[in-house]
Symmetry: C2
Subunit: 523 residues, 2 copies
C-alpha cells in the first residue's frame, strides 16, 4: 500500500480548480479585499488565465464575448454586491443572449455578515433577477460542489449567467473538495410532434415565415435554414442575436426590423409564424398606439422550440419533414470598391466589407450607425457577427475584448457608438494590456442620435433646451484618440471615406488593439 499525500485545499482553491476541471479557461476579474484568496487560488491554477478589468462591466461583457466564441462559460470575479451591480448591465445583456457565464461574487465572511458592515448588501436579492441559478457557498465543504453545479446550471435548460457567492471565510478555510464532474448539458432536441405539426401548418399556409436564433445561426444551422427557405418558408432572424455566421458561402436570412411599424409592414400577409430557438417577437419599446407583439393579425405564432432547444436541429427536422431536397443559394463573395468622399455609415460599411479578414468576429454596439455595416458585409469574407441583445449599451468593447482573448489568432472588430463606448471605455486598457487583436471603430457623432429619433417617435415633442442638453454629447466634444491613447491603444481620427479606409486597412494589418474615431454626421 502506498500512502497518498494528504492534500489540503481552501474553499477558493476548490472553486477555482473545479471550474478548471470543467474546462473554464478564462477569468475576467476586478477583485477586492474579500476576494484575495480567490486571487491566490487563481495564481495556482495554470489552466485559467486571469484578465484584470478596471470596471466590472468590462469583466462581465468580456466573459460574454469569450463564451460566444467558445460556447462555454468564462468566470468573472466580482467584489461583493457593489461589484455585482457594476457588472450588472452586461450580465443583463448576457441573459438576453442566453450566454453561459459563471459570476463568482465575493462576500463577507459568514460570521461577519450579521454586523451590516459598509460593503454588506443583499447580494441574492440584487443578483437574483438576472441569474439563472444563484447560491452562496456558506461552508467550505460546499465550495467545489457548488462550483460544479453553477457551471452545469449555466448551460440551462436555458443557458445564461449564474451567480456563485463565495463568503471570504469559505474562501480562506481549508477543507475544500473538488466538485463531482458533470457532463456538459446539451440543448433540448426538437419535439417530433411539434415538427410534424409545423410541417402540416406550412403546407396549408400561403405565406409562412420562421423566426430563428441560437444554433440555427451557426454555419451548419444556416445550411439547414437554406433548405427551409427552399421549401417556401421565409426565414428571418431576430433583430438582435448573440452570434451569426455570415459572409461568403453562408445563406443570408432576412432580419426582423427594429422599429415595430417597419417590422409589421415587412411581415404583412404572413399567415403562419414559426419560432425556432427564440421567443415570439416583441417590439423593443412600446410606443403610444403601436403594437407590442410583432405578429400580424390573423397570423398564428407556433413555437417549435424556444431558446432551450437546438434550433439547427429543428431546421433540419423541419426540412426533412417537408421533404426538401434543395437549398436556397448562399452568398457569393463580393468585396466592394474603396469608398470616397464624405464619411458616413455607408462608407464605413463599405470599408469594413473590403478589409475585414476571414474569420473575423464582429462586436456590434453601433446603435444608430451599425445597420449599414451589417447590410454591406452580407457578402464579405466569412465572419461571425455578435450583437447587443439586451439593449443595455456599453457592451461593444468589453464583448470584443473577451471574444479576442478566446480567439487570439483571429481579428475582432468592434463597432460602437460614441455614447455607448463611453459607458465602458475602460475596456481599452485591458485590450492594451493583453495585446488583444481588436479594431475598434467608434462612430463619433457627438450625440445620442437614436434618442433624437426616439424622441420624435414616442411623440414626446420637439426637444427644447433641456432635452437638447440631455441628448447631445457635444460641449465638450470627446477626443476619442486621446481617450484611447491614454489607455495604451493607438488611435486615429478619420473624417473622410478615404481616411477611414486607409486607417481601417492599417488597423487590421497591425498587431494588438487599434481605435479609429470615425466622424459621422449627427443627422
Amino acid at each position: 500500500m502506498t500512502e497518498q499525500p494528504i492534500q489540503t485545499m481552501t474553499g477558493a482553491e476548490a472553486l477555482v480548480s473545479t471550474l478548471a476541471d470543467h474546462g473554464v479557461t478564462a477569468c475576467f476579474a476586478n477583485p477586492g479585499t474579500s476576494e484575495m484568496h480567490l486571487v491566490t487560488a487563481l495564481d495556482h491554477e495554470p489552466r485559467i488565465k486571469s484578465t484584470l478589468c478596471l470596471f466590472e462591466g468590462v469583466a462581465t461583457g468580456a466573459a460574454d464575448g469569450h463564451a460566444r466564441v467558445t460556447g462555454a462559460p468564462a468566470m468573472t470575479l466580482l467584489h461583493l454586491g457593489a461589484g455585482y451591480l457594476n457588472g450588472g448591465a452586461n450580465i443583463h445583456n448576457a441573459r438576453r443572449a442566453w450566454t453561459p457565464m459563471v459570476n463568482v461574487i465575493g462576500d463577507h465572511a459568514v460570521p461577519h455578515q450579521r454586523f451590516d458592515a459598509p460593503l454588506a448588501s443583499d447580494v441574492v436579492g440584487m443578483a437574483g433577477p438576472n441569474s439563472r441559478w444563484i447560491k452562496s457557498a456558506d461552508t467550505v465543504a460546499q465550495a467545489g460542489e457548488l462550483a460544479a453545479q453553477a457551471w452545469e446550471a449555466s448551460f440551462g435548460p436555458e443557458p445564461g449567467p449564474v451567480s456563485l457567492i463565495l463568503p471570504a471565510d469559505t474562501a480562506w478555510l481549508e477543507g475544500g473538495k473538488p466538485g463531482a464532474t458533470r457532463a456538459r448539458p446539451s440543448l433540448r432536441a426538437p419535439d417530433p410532434a411539434r415538427i410534424d405539426a409545423a410541417a402540416a401548418a406550412v403546407k396549408s399556409a400561403s405565406k409562412p415565415v420562421i423566426i430563428i436564433n441560437g444554433t440555427a445561426l451557426t454555419e451548419a444551422g444556416l445550411a439547414q435554414a437554406a433548405r427551409v427557405k427552399a421549401a417556401g418558408i421565409r426565414v428571418l432572424t431576430d433583430t438582435f442575436f448573440p452570434r451569426q455566421a455570415r459572409g461568403a458561402g453562408r445563406f443570408v436570412p432576412d432580419r426582423m426590423q427594429y422599429f415595430a411599424e417597419g417590422a409589421m409592414a415587412d411581415l404583412e400577409g404572413s399567415d403562419l409564424m414559426l419560432i425556432a430557438g427564440t421567443q415570439v417577437p416583441v417590439a423593443f419599446f412600446a410606443y403610444p398606439g403601436k403594437p407590442s407583439v410583432l405578429v400580424p393579425e390573423g397570423c398564428a405564432p407556433m413555437v417549435i422550440g424556444g431558446p432551450d432547444t437546438d434550433s439547427a436541429a429543428i431546421l433540419a427536422a423541419l426540412a426533412d419533414a417537408l421533404g426538401t431536397k434543395e437549398a436556397a443559394p448562399v452568398a457569393e463573395l463580393d468585396v466592394p470598391g474603396a469608398p470616397t468622399g464624405a464619411l458616413n455609415a455607408a462608407a464605413i460599411g463599405a470599408s469594413i466589407a473590403r478589409h475585414m479578414p476571414e474569420g473575423c468576429f464582429v462586436s456590434d454596439d453601433g446603435v444608430s450607425n451599425g445597420l449599414p455595416s451589417f447590410l454591406m458585409t452580407q457578402r464579405a469574407r466569412p465572419h461571425d457577427w455578435m450583437m447587443l441583445t439586451g439593449g443595455a449599451i456599453g457592451q461593444g468593447m468589453p464583448l470584443a475584448l473577451g471574444a479576442s482573448l478566446a480567439a487570439p489568432d483571429r481579428k475582432t472588430l468592434c463597432i460602437t457608438g460614441d455614447g455607448a463606448g463611453m459607458y465602458t471605455n475602460q475596456a481599452l486598457w485591458s485590450m492594451a494590456r493583453e495585446g488583444a487583436n481588436v479594431v475598434n471603430v467608434v462612430f463619433v457623432n457627438h450625440s445620442y442620435r437614436i434618442l433624437n429619433i426616439e424622441l420624435a417617435r414616442t411623440g414626446a415633442g420637439n426637444p427644447g433646451p433641456a432635452a437638447q442638453e440631455l441628448l447631445g454629447l457635444g460641449h465638450p466634444e470627446i477626443d476619442w484618440v486621446k481617450l484611447s491613447e491614454a489607455q495604451g491603444v493607438p488611435a486615429a481620427n478619420a473624417t473622410t471615406a478615404e481616411e477611414f479606409d486607409a486607417a481601417l486597412e492599417r488597423a487590421f494589418a497591425a498587431d494588438g488593439p487599434r481605435l479609429i474615431a470615425a466622424h459621422v454626421p449627427a443627422r
Copy 2:
C-alpha cells in the same frame, strides 16, 4: 366667477413638477427611449436643472454629492433595470451615507411589460435592497402623489435613496395631478431617558468614548462635541462619514481607525462606548482570527440614537445632562510651508492644506493615499470633508461633480486613487460641460495599492504572477492627462512636491475643472 383654464398634465409632468414643488432643483440623468417624456417634462420645468452624465454611476454619485451639500434630495433619471444597475454601486454608497436621493427609473409601458422585451427586467427585485422605499407608478393618476411620497420617504425614518419606477405609458398619458405637498421630515429628537442613562453611565465610567456621525459633524454639532469632550468623554467619528466640518475654528474629534487591530488598540481600556447618529462600529472586512465588532472586551456599547436621530441634539443634551459649562479647544489656523522634494501622500497633504480655500468641499475617494491629506488639513482653512462611506470605489469624481453644482461659488476638491478614478472617469466630461469648479487630484501609483496591503493582511500569501497581474495597474500605465483632456478637463502631471504645489495653486485659481495627475510611489 372666472373660469379656470383646464390644465392637462402628463404623468411625467406631474412627477417632475411635484418634485420641483418640494424643492428638488437638480436632476442627474442618463435617459433612454422609455424616458423621453420625462425629458420633455424636464424641458418645461425651469426649477430643475438637468445634467447629462455619460454613465449612470456618475449620475447617482453626483446626486449624492448634491444632497450632501444641500441636505435635500436630488433626482436621477435612469433607463430601466439596466440603468439602475449601472448606477447601483453609488446608490449603495449613498445608502451607507444616509443620503436622501430620489431615483426615477423609467420602465416599459405597463401593457408592454408582460411580453418580456429585451430591456425588461425585475426592477423592484434588483433595486429593492438598496432602496429605503420603492414603488412603481402604474397609473397616471398616481404619478404625482407617488413622487411626493418618494421625496418624503427619502428623509427617513433613516434618510437614504428611494426608487420611483415610471412606466412609459404613465409618463406619456394625460391625467397627471400634482402630489399633495409634504412638510420636510425631521430627524428624530433624542430620547431624554436614554440621555439620562448615558449621563449616568458616563459618571461611573473611567474611560468613556462616544462614536459620532450625522449632524454631530456639522459646525454646530461639533461645538456640542467640544462640550462633551470637556466633560471627559473621548470623541471619535466613524472611520468614514458623509460630511464633516473641519479646519480652523472647529473642534477636532478623533477618528476610528480603518484596520480592526489598530482600532482595537486605540480603544483599549475604554469601558463605555456611547453611539450617537450611527451604528455600533464594525470592521470593514473580516480577517482570519480578527474581531468583527470594534468594541473592546468589557466595554458596553450604548446606542443613544442611531442614524435616524439628530446627533447634534444628542450631544447638546448629553453635555447639558453632565452639567458641562466648558468646551474643548478648537483648531487654530495653521497653514504649512511649501513641501519640497519627492512627491508622496504627505507632500500632497501639505499642499492641499496650503492652498485649499475657505469653504471648500472635499470629496475623498483616496483609498490608500487619502489619509495624510485628511490629517494635514485638520487646521487648514474651514472646509467640509466628504468620504466614501460604502466602500464601493468610484465615487470620488461623481460626488465632487454634484457637490460643485450645488455650491458653484465655492471650490470642490476631489482626491481619488487611480484605480478608483477609472471606474467613473466619465464624470470628467460632465464637469467640463458644466464648468464645475472641481480640482481633481488623482493619486497615480499604477496599482490597487490597498489590495497589495490586504493580500498580506488576509493571509492569502505572497502574490504570484497572476495575483500581481490582478493588483497592478501598470502595463500599460494610464495617461491621466490625456484621459482628462480627452473629456475637456485641462490637466497636468506632477512628479515632485514643487510641481504639485504649483499645479494645485494654479488649479484652485482657475475657473472650471482641472485635474492633476500626482505621481506617487506604489509602495
